[in-house]
Symmetry: C2
Subunit: 410 residues, 2 copies
C-alpha cells in the first residue's frame, strides 16, 4: 500500500449550538481543513463522512454526506457515509486513508460531524442510547419497568430506555473504575487528577467546549454520577465538526514542506473471548504498533478516548504507556501532563474539549496534526514526532463495540 | 491494486417479515454467503455492512453491524457501518472490495440488510423520506401545510412530511417518465412492458417478494400512482438481506474453480452541473466501463435500479445499452428480456424481487453471481460472461444523490 500524508485539518469549537444545523457545522470544519491544506474543493476526489446520530436527532437518516457537502458546492465525487458510534469519524479517516493507500484516489477528505443538542432532550438521549444493542436494552428497561413503574410509552419506540441506556454507559464506566481500584489500589483522587489535567489542557485550547480549570477537590466535590465518577470526570454532550485532508506522497510533496505520515490506521470490534484473551484495547494497540513498526516508547503524545477519567487511566495500560495496574502511578508522576514525557489529551480530551460523538475521531487527529506541525500554541509538546489517537465506540456485551488506533509521524 | 474475486453470495427471500428482526435477516444472508463460499466465520477478516434505515425503523441508530454480527458469533475484526440510501450495500460491497484490492485484507464480507416494514407505517415512511434533504423537505411540507391544512405535528419531527417525501419520489420518477415521452415519443405501454418483463422474471426467482405475472393491460389498469406510473410499475417496500464474500486472487484459487472477478467498482454523487454536463447515470457508467476496460457490448446481463419502470428505461440509455431516446424501442425489441441479447433485471428487479433499500445492492450482486456461475435455474442467461449492476440512491436537488456501478466477469 502507498504512503499516505495528512496535509490539512480543521475544526470548529465544540459546544452547544441549538441555532446551527449540521450543514453549517460541516462547512466550518471542511473549509478550515481545505484552507489548512492549501487545497481547493475541485481537487477533492473522494469524501468520507462520519456521523453517528443525525437520523434520530435531526431526522436526516440517509445521505448525510451528500446533504451537507452539496450545500457547500461539493459533488460529482464518491461520498461514503459511515457510522461506528463514538468512533464514527476515526472510521471515516480510516476509509479515506484506505482510498489513498490503495492507489484509487490521490486526495481524500474525512469529516466527522455531530449535533447532539436538540430542543427535545429525549432525542439526544435516544440517539446516544442507540450505541448499545437496542433490542436487549429495551428488554432490560421493560423488565425494570414492570417492577417499578408503568412500561415505557410504546410510541416512543427507539427512545424507550434512552435515558436508562445513557446512564448504563456511566454505570459501566463506574464499574470499570471500581474494579481497577479493587485490583490495583487505584484511588478516586487519581481519577480526579486525570480530569484536572484534561480540564487544564482544555483551558489552553480555543476549540474546547469547556475551558474552566478545576482542582482535584473541586472535581471530587462535583455532583456524583455513579461511584466513583463525578460530573467533572465525565465527557459532556455537544455539537461539533472536524475534518482532515489526506493525500498521496506525490501530491503531498507538491502541497507542503511539512507533511505528516499515517503510520498506522487500524480498526477492530469486540469479540466474545475467554479469560486469557486480551481485550479490545490491547488488541487494537498491538495492531497499531505492529503496522507502524513503532512502540509505545516512540509516542510523543496521545489523544485517547476519555469518555470518563477512569477510561483514560485504563487506556494508559492498554496503549502500553505503563504496565498493567500502574495507570494510577502514571498520572501521579506527571508523565502524561503537559511537560511530561508523554502528554495525553493535550486538547483537553473528551472531558474538556467535548464529545460530539461522530466528530471526536477527526478532532483527535486535528490535535495530533497541530502538535506534530508545531502549531498547538500554549499547549505545544516540544519536539513532538509521533502522535497516537485511540477512539472507542459503543458497547456490545460489556465491551467496546469499536476501537480504532491511528499513529501519525512527522 | 490487486485483483479481487467474488467467491460466495447468499440472500433471503425479500418480503414482509413483521416477526423477524434485523439480526435474523442478516444471519440468513451471511450464513448463505459463507456456505456458498466454503468459508468459515473465523476466516473473515473484515465486514462492511450497508443499512439505510434501522435508526428510524428499529431505533438501532448506531453499531448496527456489531449488533447483528456479534449475535452470530462474529467479532474481533474491523466492522464498518455504511449508508448511502438505496445504494447502501453497493457501497458496502465497494468498501469490502477496496479492503481486498488495497492488499489490507484477504477475505471480506459485504452485507446489505434492511427492515422497512413496521407496525407503525409512519416509521417506514419517515425512514424512506430521509433519502432527500430533510431540512428542505420540512420547509416544503410546512409551506404546503400552511396553505391547506394544519401544520404537521411538531412531535413527529423527522417524520413530518414523510408521506409527502415518499410521494415526492414517485412524483419525480413520474416527471422523468413524462419528460421522456415528450422528448422521444416513449409510450406508457413501453413502461408497462418493462414492468411485465420484470414481473415475469420475478416469477422465476424463488427469492422474489412478488412472483405473480401480469399482462401489459393489467399493469396499465393497476391503481394510478402519478401519471404515467401505476402501482405495478413501482417497486414495493420490503424487508430483506443479501451478502457477498470477496477475497484475494490467491485465496480464491484455493477456494473455488469458479471465481468471479470484480472488473469495476465505482461510486459517485450528484453534482450541480450545467446543461451540457452528463448526468450522474452517464458519469457512473463511463467510470465503470473505463475501469473494467469493457464496453456495453461486452455485457451479458445487467441488474439496474428499477425503482420504477421508467427508471429502467432511462438506464438502458445511461448504461449505453442503446442510444439516447431509444429505450422504448429497446424494450419493444425484446433485447432486454430473457432470451434477448442483454437481459436486464433477470432477478425481477426492484419491481418484483423487492426493494428493502439497504439490501438492494448486494442482492443485485447476488443475481449476477448466480448468473455468472450458471446457477440461476429457469432464468439462467446462457453463456453469461459479464454482469453489470447499477444501483442509485437518494435525491438531492433533483438528481440521484448516489450512483454505483459494478462489473463482474467470469
Amino acid at each position: 500500500m502507498r504512503n499516505v500524508a495528512v496535509v490539512g485539518a480543521g475544526m470548529m469549537r465544540f459546544g452547544k449550538y441549538l441555532d446551527r444545523g449540521l450543514k453549517d457545522l460541516a462547512r466550518e470544519a471542511v473549509e478550515g481543513a481545505l484552507e489548512s491544506a492549501g487545497v481547493d474543493k475541485p481537487a477533492l476526489q473522494v469524501a468520507v463522512v462520519g456521523n453517528a446520530a443525525a437520523g434520530l436527532v435531526t431526522g436526516q437518516e440517509m445521505v448525510r454526506a451528500q446533504v451537507m457537502l452539496r450545500e457547500m458546492g461539493l459533488g460529482g465525487i464518491p461520498m461514503v457515509n459511515t457510522e461506528n458510534a463514538c468512533a464514527s469519524s476515526s472510521t471515516a479517516f480510516h476509509l479515506a486513508w484506505l482510498y489513498v493507500a490503495s492507489g484509487m484516489y490521490d486526495v481524500a477528505l474525512a469529516l466527522g460531524v455531530e449535533k447532539l443538542y436538540h430542543e427535545d432532550k429525549k432525542r439526544s438521549f435516544a440517539a446516544i442510547g442507540s450505541a448499545v444493542d437496542v433490542e436487549i436494552m429495551q428488554k432490560i428497561v421493560a423488565a425494570a419497568s414492570a417492577d417499578r413503574k408503568p412500561a415505557g410509552d410504546a410510541e416512543a419506540g427507539g427512545a424507550a430506555g434512552a435515558g436508562e441506556s445513557r446512564s448504563l454507559f456511566m454505570d459501566l464506566y463506574a464499574a470499570l473504575a471500581r474494579d481497577h481500584m479493587r485490583r490495583y489500589g487505584t484511588t478516586k483522587e487519581q481519577y480526579a487528577r486525570i480530569a484536572e489535567k484534561n480540564h487544564f489542557n482544555g483551558s489552553l485550547n480555543p476549540h474546547a467546549q469547556y475551558r474552566e480549570r478545576y482542582t482535584v477537590d473541586e472535581i471530587l466535590a462535583s455532583p456524583a454520577v455513579a461511584e466513583p465518577l463525578t460530573r467533572l470526570m465525565c465527557s459532556p454532550i455537544g455539537d461539533g465538526a472536524a475534518a482532515v485532508v489526506l493525500c498521496s506522497e506525490e501530491k503531498a510533496r507538491q502541497l507542503t514542506t511539512k507533511p505528516l505520515w499515517v503510520r498506522a490506521s487500524v480498526l477492530t470490534t469486540g469479540q466474545d473471548h475467554g479469560p486469557d484473551d486480551p481485550g479490545i484495547g490491547d488488541r487494537i494497540a498491538a495492531a497499531g504498533y505492529e503496522m507502524a513498526g513503532l512502540g509505545p516508547n516512540d509516542v510523543s503524545l496521545a489523544e485517547v478516548h476519555d469518555a470518563t477519567a477512569p477510561a483514560e487511566l485504563v487506556l494508559y495500560e492498554e496503549m502500553g504507556f505503563c504496565p498493567r495496574g500502574e495507570g494510577g502511578r502514571l498520572i501521579d508522576s506527571g508523565h502524561t501532563s503537559l511537560g511530561g514525557k508523554l502528554p495525553v489529551n493535550t486538547s483537553g480530551g473528551l472531558i474538556s474539549k467535548g464529545h460530539p460523538i461522530g466528530a471526536t475521531g477527526t478532532a483527535q487527529l486535528y490535535e495530533v496534526f497541530l502538535q506534530l506541525r508545531g502549531e498547538a500554541g500554549e499547549r505545544q509538546v516540544k519536539g513532538a514526532k509521533v502522535g497516537l489517537t485511540e477512539n472507542g465506540g459503543g458497547m456490545i456485551r460489556g465491551e467496546n463495540a469499536v476501537a480504532s488506533v491511528h499513529i501519525l509521524s512527522v
